[in-house]
Symmetry: C2
Subunit: 658 residues, 2 copies
C-alpha cells in the first residue's frame, strides 16, 4: 500500500478514544500523499482526523465503522495505523492504545457503561498507579505543553517537582532547611552519604543509573519525584553547572522534573493536584467497593484527617495515635511536667491538665466518624521522645556555662543560672530515661503498666468524649487499643485498670457506650501466642511496621537510609519490607495469629494499621490472610479500595475476564 | 516413752550418714536421763553417739541395725529420733535427712555403689543447685563455725560475700568503683533506682521483702549473693547504722553474708571455692553423661576459657565471639583505624595488621580443643561499640576547648589542638555511626556484607590457623558461623565470599580442612524461614538472647534493670525470659526452626549458644526440642551435663525410680 500515490492517497494514525482525557471520540492525524514514516517523523505538518471527514467523507465513515468494530472486537481502546491508496482504505495495524491515568479510568468506566466489558473487568483494568495519579501533585497539562524540555530520563518515582538546582547533598540540605528554598538535587548518581540531601529536596535528578539505582530506590521510598539516568545531561561538579547540548544550567537556577513521565523542563512549571472528585473515578471506586470483601479504614489523629478519610471512602478509623496531640505546643509543657514529676501529686496535676485536651480531640474524631468505628491506641512512644535530645542538651549546657563566664551583669548571671538549672534537670531526666534500644524499651503497654494514671487518663478522656457526643446524638463506636503486647498477662493487667475507669466514667455520665477492647499484634511473641491473647481481646490490629522491625531485627529509622538500600540494590531483598509486606516471614506470623486468634474467638476483628495498609501488594496479602480491614493514610484510601477489589476479583476471577 | 526415767534411759537424734560431708557413718547426739526437748533445746551438753557405743553397747548395736534397715527400706539417708526407756530402745521418728550439696552428691553416688539405688536415681537426686555449690565461692566451714551470727533472713541468691556496709546505692557504687572497696549494700528494701549500687556491690542484704522482692530478683539475676527479709535488723538511714539487738554496725564496718544459707555474720569470714574435682561429683557427672543425649559445649573466646571448658567436660566450643579480641588494648587502635579509614587502602592496612592477632587467637583455641568442634562466630556488634561514647566525647570536647583558653604556653596549645582534632574526628565518625536502635542496626551479617574485607580477613585467620595447627598434628574442626541472618540471601551472599577465601587459603597452604558453614538463628524471620536457610547452612545455632529480645520486643540492657523487674514482681512474667527460655514464644520459634531446618537437611546440627544453655529448665526444653547440644559458659558445663541427664531421664523415666 502506498499513501503517497496521489492526492486521493493518505496515511495516518488514530485512536478510538482520547488518550489524554479518555473521551469517546475518534482522534488522529494524517497526511495526504504521504507514507507512514512522514506522519511519525514530523517533517510535514499533519492534519487532524476531522479534516478527513470533510476531504473524504465516505472513507472517513468506513474508517469510523471499522474502528468501532475493532474496539468492539478487542474490547479495548485501539491505536490504529491506516493508509488510503487511490481512494481505498487499508488498515495497517491495530493495538491497544496508550493513555494517561485519567483516560484509563474514564475509558474503563465508559466501556462498562456501554456494555463492552463488565464492571469487574473495568475495575481490573485500572491499576493502583492510575489512582495514585489523582492524589499527587502533577504538572498542569497546559504548563507541560508550553514547557521547555531539557532532557528525558527514567520515570522512577512519580509526581512533579519544581526547585533550584543544588549539586550536592549538603548544599541541598542547607538551602532547604536554612533558607527555606525549594531544591532539586542533581547528581551524576547518589550514594548513601547523599540521603540527607535527598530527603531535604523536592525532587531528585541524576544523569546515570537505572530503575534500581540508589537514587531511584531512595526517591520511591520517601515519595520524592525523581528522574534518573538522564544521560543527555553532563554535570560539572567543579564549576557547579550542568549542560544539555548548548544549554547550561548553573547551580541555583530553577528546573522542573516530571517523575511520572521522566522528563526534565527548564524553569518553574505550574503544578496542580488532580481531582479525586473525578466522576468516573468515583464510579469506578464504587464498583470496586461492591466487589471487595476487605474493609478499608484510615489512620487519622485529628478531625481534619478523619474528614478526608471519610471523603475518600474510609469505613472507620483503624489507628488514632493518642500521643500525637501531646507534641503540640500547648500540651507539650504539661506532658514534660508529667515526665519530670518527682511526686505523684505533681504527676496527677499534669495529667489533669491534659485530660480536657484529649477529651476534645477524641470528641472531634467521634463527631466526624459518626456511626463508624474509631480505634484509639493508647500512648506508645518512649517518654524520652518528649524531651530534648541528650547530646544536644550536653552541648547546650557547655555553651551556657561558657556564657556564664562572660556574663556582663548580675541579671544576666541569674538568667543563665536559671537556664542552666532547668536544662540540667532535663539532662538528668533524659539521662535516666536513656535507653540503648528505645524501640524495644519502656513504651507501649509497658508504659501503661509503669504509669497506670497516664493510660487511665486517656481512657477517661475517650469515654467522657464518647458520652458527650452521644448526648449530641452522635453514634459512637470507640475501640480501645493496647500497643506492644508481648504476653497475655500485660493485657489482662491493663484491661482490669482501664475497663474499671471506663465503667466509672459511664456511671458518672449515666450513658452506656458500646466499645471494644483490643490489642496491637506487633511483636512476634504476640503473634505466636495469639490464641491466649484473643481470650482477652475483641480485636487485633497488626502493627506491621514494628512487626517487620522485630521479625527482621531491623530498626527502620537506621536501615532505610543505610544498609537496606544496599540490600535492595544488591538484590538481597526483593523489596523494602517496610513498604511491601514480607510474605514469607511477617506474612507467616500474621497468618498464624489470625488463625490462632480466631480459633479462640471466631468473630475476632483483625486489621492492619501500618503503612503497608496502603500498598497494593500488601493489601492483596491481607485479603488472602482473611483480615477484616486494612487501615492506611487517608490519601491512600482510594488506592486501597481498588487494590482490595483486585484482590477479591483475583480470587474469584474468571479467566476470560482479562 | 520416757528417756528421763533413770540413767538407763536416754534420748537422742541420729543420721545414717554425715549431713555435711556425706560420709557413711552413723552420727548423732544424745542425753542420758533426758527428754527429746532437752536435746533440741541445747540446755545440757549433749554426748556424741559414739559414747553410746561404750555406755550401752548392745543398745547401740540394735540401733545401728535398725538405722541401716530403715535406710535400706527408704533407700535414703535417714534422720531419726530415739528414746531409751530403762534399757529398751524405742524409735520415735524417721525421715529423710537434710544435707549439704557436697553430702548430697557423695550420698547419692555411694548409695548407687552400694546397690541401694540405681545410677539413674543417683543422678536424679542431685539437683543443679547442688552442683552450682561446687562452682561458687562459699564460706569456709571452719570460718562459719567460728563466725559471729548477726541475723538470719531468706537465702535468695547463693554464695558467700564479704564487704563493708554501705547504706545506699550511690555510696556502694562510689566505694566499689572509685575506691576499689568490697561492699555489701544494705537497705530496708531496694527499688529500681538502686540497681547500679547492687551491681557494684559484692552482696545485698535487706531487712524487708521476700523471695520475689526486687532485691531477690535483681540479686539472682546478676548472680550476687543476697539475704533478704532479715527482720531482726533495724536500719537507721539517718545515722548510717544498723542495729541487731544490742549490736550496732556503722557504715563502713565489715560483714559477711551467706546467701546459700540466708545468714549474716559480723566481720570478714574466709571464703573458699569448693573443689570441682570432688571424686564423687566426677563420678556422678560421668553417670549423667552416660544418660544424656544432648551434647554440652561451651562458649569460649580464649584458650584459657577453652581449657576450663574441656576440664569441666565440654564436648566442643559452641561460640567463640571473634570480635572480643578486638577490644584488647594492643588491637583496638587497629580496629578503630579500620573504622575511621577514609580510603580502602587504609582499611586494608588496618585489617592486615589485625590478621596475625586473630590467627594466633584461633590457633590457640584449636590446639586446646584438639579433636573437638570449634564454632567461630564472625564479627557481630555494631562498629560504634569500638569507639568512645558520643555523649562523653561531646562533654570532653567542651572541656578541652575550655582548657585551650587557659593554656599556659604554645606547647600546651599544640597538644590540646591535636587532642581536639583527634576527638573531633572520633565524634564525627561516632555521630555518623550513631543508630537509634543499635541492637537492630548495622551489625552481624549486615557488617559482613557492608565490609566484606573484614569478614574475609576473619575467615582467612580461621583457615590459616587451622592449616597451621594441622601441620602441628592437631585434629581441627572449625565451624564458621554467620550472625544475625534474617533472609537466606544474606547467607548465600556471604557464603560465596567466605568460602572463596577459605579455598584460597587452603590452596596456599596445601592443606584441606574439614569445616562447616552455618548460621545463627537469632531473629524470628530466620526461624520462620528455616527451611530455606537450611539449604545453605550445615548448622544452626540459636542465639536465644537476641531471639528473646526480638520475639518479645525487649532490649535486655534496658529492661533487666528496669521494667522487667516490675514485671516479675507483679507476676506478669513467670520468670526472666533472658534467664529461662520462654517456652510459649521463643520455644515455639525454636521448635519450628528445628523442624523446618531438618525437613530441608535431616542431619542439620542444631544448638543453642545463649546464656540459656546453662539454665536447667532451658536445657530440659532444648532436650525436648531435639537440639544437638547446648553451649554455655565453661563454669556452667557441669550443671548442664547434669540437667541434660535429668531431661533424658525425665523422658524415659520409670515412675518407681523416685
Amino acid at each position: 500500500m502506498f499513501g503517497n500515490m496521489d492526492d486521493d492517497s493518505a496515511t495516518g494514525v488514530a485512536m478510538t478514544r482520547n488518550g489524554s482525557t479518555g473521551e469517546r471520540q475518534l482522534e488522529g492525524d494524517y497526511l495526504t500523499n504521504a507514507q507512514g514514516e512522514d506522519v511519525v517523523a514530523g517533517i510535514r505538518m499533519t492534519k487532524d482526523l476531522s479534516e478527513l471527514k470533510k476531504e473524504m467523507p465516505d472513507l472517513y465513515a468506513e474508517f469510523e465503522r471499522i474502528a468501532l468494530l475493532l474496539e468492539k472486537h478487542y474490547r479495548e481502546m485501539q491505536d490504529m495505523e491506516f493508509t488510503i491508496e487511490k481512494g481505498k482504505l487499508w488498515m495497517l495495524q491495530t493495538r491497544d492504545g496508550k493513555r494517561t491515568a485519567q483516560a484509563a479510568v474514564r475509558i474503563a468506566v465508559e466501556m462498562a457503561d456501554e456494555g463492552l466489558i463488565d464492571r469487574q473487568t473495568a475495575v481490573r483494568r485500572v491499576k493502583p498507579e492510575h489512582v495514585d495519579f489523582f492524589l499527587h501533585p502533577q504538572f498542569d497539562p497546559a504548563a507541560l505543553a508550553g514547557g521547555k524540555l531539557l532532557a528525558r530520563g527514567l520515570n522512577v518515582s512519580p509526581g512533579g517537582a519544581v526547585g533550584q538546582v543544588a549539586f550536592d547533598a549538603n548544599m541541598a540540605e542547607a538551602w532547604a532547611k536554612n533558607e527555606g528554598k525549594a531544591v532539586i538535587m542533581v547528581r551524576p548518581e547518589t550514594k548513601p552519604d547523599d540521603v540527607h540531601g535527598m530527603l531535604a529536596a523536592e525532587g531528585i535528578l541524576t544523569s546515570r543509573g537505572g530503575r534500581t539505582s540508589h537514587a531511584a530506590l531512595v526517591a520511591r521510598q520517601f515519595g520524592k519525584p525523581a528522574v534518573v539516568g538522564a544521560s543527555a545531561i553532563t554535570i560539572d561538579l567543579t564549576n557547579r553547572e550542568m549542560t544539555i547540548g548548548e544549554r547550561t544550567i548553573h547551580e541555583g537556577e530553577w528546573i522542573s522534573i516530571d517523575g511520572t513521565a521522566g522528563v526534565v523542563y527548564e524553569g518553574q512549571l505550574a503544578t496542580m493536584v488532580p481531582d479525586i472528585k473525578d466522576p468516573w473515578l468515583i464510579k469506578l471506586l464504587d464498583w470496586a467497593d461492591s466487589f471487595r470483601t476487605l474493609g478499608v479504614w484510615a489512620n487519622a489523629d485529628y478531625p481534619r484527617d478523619a474528614r478526608r478519610a471519610v471523603e475518600y471512602g474510609a469505613q472507620g478509623i483503624g489507628l488514632c495515635r493518642s500521643e500525637h496531640m501531646f507534641f503540640e505546643t500547648d500540651r507539650l509543657p504539661y506532658f514534660q511536667k508529667m515526665i519530670m514529676a518527682d511526686y505523684p501529686v505533681e504527676r496527677r496535676e499534669a495529667l489533669a491538665a491534659l485530660l480536657p485536651f484529649q477529651r476534645e480531640d477524641f470528641a472531634g474524631l467521634f463527631r466526624v466518624m459518626d456511626g463508624r468505628p474509631v480505634i484509639i491506641r493508647l500512648i506508645d512512644p518512649p517518654l524520652h521522645e518528649f524531651l530534648p535530645d541528650l547530646v544536644e542538651l550536653v552541648a547546650e549546657l557547655a555553651d551556657l556555662k561558657i556564657q556564664l563566664k562572660h556574663a556582663p551583669d548580675m541579671a544576666a548571671i541569674d538568667a543563665l543560672l536559671s537556664d542552666i538549672r532547668q536544662k540540667e534537670q532535663l539532662r538528668k531526666r533524659a539521662l535516666s530515661l536513656r535507653e540503648a534500644n528505645p524501640m524495644l524499651g519502656l513504651r507501649g503497654v509497658r508504659l501503661g503498666i509503669y504509669i497506670p494514671e497516664l493510660t487511665s487518663m486517656q481512657v477517661r478522656a475517650i469515654f467522657e468524649a464518647a458520652c458527650m457526643v452521644v448526648k449530641e446524638g452522635i453514634d459512637v463506636h470507640p475501640e480501645v487499643m493496647i500497643p506492644l503486647t508481648s504476653h497475655v498477662n500485660e493485657l489482662i493487667r491493663q484491661r482490669t485498670v482501664l475497663e474499671g475507669e471506663a465503667r466509672t466514667v459511664m456511671a458518672e455520665q449515666g450513658v452506656t457506650i458500646g466499645y471494644k477492647f483490643g490489642t496491637m499484634i506487633e511483636l512476634p511473641r504476640a503473634a505466636l501466642t495469639a490464641d491466649r491473647i484473643a481470650e482477652h481481646a475483641e480485636f487485633f490490629s497488626f502493627g506491621t511496621n514494628d512487626l517487620t522491625q522485630t521479625t527482621f531485627g531491623i530498626s527502620r529509622d537506621d536501615a532505610e537510609a543505610g544498609f537496606l538500600i544496599e540490600y535492595m540494590e544488591g538484590g538481597i531483598l526483593p523489596a523494602n519490607p517496610f513498604a511491601t509486606l514480607d510474605r514469607d516471614g511477617v506474612g507467616q506470623l500474621i497468618d498464624m495469629a489470625v488463625r490462632k486468634g480466631r480459633a479462640s474467638k471466631p468473630d475476632l476483628e483483625c486489621g492492619i494499621c501500618g503503612e503497608h495498609g496502603g500498598d497494593p501488594q500488601s493489601i492483596a496479602l491481607c485479603h488472602q490472610l482473611g483480615l477484616t480491614y486494612v487501615s492506611c493514610s487517608p490519601f491512600r484510601v482510594p488506592i486501597a479500595r481498588l487494590a482490595a477489589a483486585h484482590a477479591a476479583l483475583q480470587e474469584t476471577g474468571r479467566p476470560h475476564d482479562e
